[in-house]
Assembly symmetry: C2
Homo-oligomer: 193 residues x 2
Amino acid sequence: VYHAAVATSRSLSFDPVAAAREVWTSKGWGSAAIGMQTVTSVMRAHQLFLAQANDVLRSFKLTFARYEVLAWLAWNADCGQLSLTQIGERLQVTPATVTSAIDRLEADDLVRRLQHPSDARSTLAEITPKGLKTVAAATDVLNEKVYEAIPLSEDQMEQLIQLLLTIRVDAGDFSAQGRAEEWHESNGHAKHD
Amino acid sequence: VYHAAVATSRSLSFDPVAAAREVWTSKGWGSAAIGMQTVTSVMRAHQLFLAQANDVLRSFKLTFARYEVLAWLAWNADCGQLSLTQIGERLQVTPATVTSAIDRLEADDLVRRLQHPSDARSTLAEITPKGLKTVAAATDVLNEKVYEAIPLSEDQMEQLIQLLLTIRVDAGDFSAQGRAEEWHESNGHAKHD
DNA sequence: AAAGATTGAAGCCTCAATCTTC
DNA sequence: GAAGATTGAGGCTTCAATCTTT
């Protein structure tokens, strides 16, 4: 199991999340206590996963944010190309965040900016051979050190994913009634009809 | 149910998390696919919760980071005082983050810096009357708009908390064998023995 | 030397404003 | 006017270096 360096340096001898719930309960906020603990637990898990991922990616001179962009370009796009808007949609970040990430990836020769063939407003990002090689190597380590090292059974992870999906759908993370074909459309595939 | 403004502006018509899992599976990374989806789901949920909380806190001129400091000072500390190191431990952030947060809270007269009575190296943070009033009001709205608005049953949230606890303990978020008395000690309570 | 706190540099994120193109 | 992208400002976070005190 992989431990991020950051986590070990600030260890505590009790669970602050559980302690906070006791406070909520004792204050008479019983109906919100479990929700507070849920949110706080998600925040903590996020922090730990992110630190683990960034620890792994550091040796590839990547961050998780930039890795995600690279991974989408490598495997979920036609010909390794995607417009900056599409990247922002998939990663659920603002246009400014995408611009910044592409700037850095381009500076490292992992990605190239291309003009959109039919719309001069749009910019395409294309992954380079170096980018492909980098993301493949990074993924191998990420798989081994982070994704395969989660201390839950498959059933438990499936449960967790499902519970978080309910939260995501409710918050409008994506429109739930979306069909698979729309995924293909947004990648530029022609619809056969 | 509460929707953060940010979420609605970048909606997608398919679940990018599920799409990524398909890629992993098709690439032959089956053993890592579910872990990847787990991590990505946590990242997304975190993003959504954080946006919801910050939306609520904006009207109090607070951010979630600063709110958390205030909440610990208000309810989990002796006399509303805690050393900056203790705050960092509870929030699991670096000393630099605590310094920055206290700087801003102090500038808004929500917190005061005090000298530690017996150790000149240490700085105490004390919540002010204005800080107490602010955190109480903010908590009311946070409870209603975020913590009580999670679309899961109590059993489901309990499940979610437990699954995330397993992850947190494994990653060393806190030392699991900690006893309740240690919590009191670290708040300055005398141990009766 | 070790612990507590601070500073500065850098990365990621958001928002608001801007500029170009549709 | 609306859409795509960029810029600048500001907030959170980390790390590394520094300074004081133990």
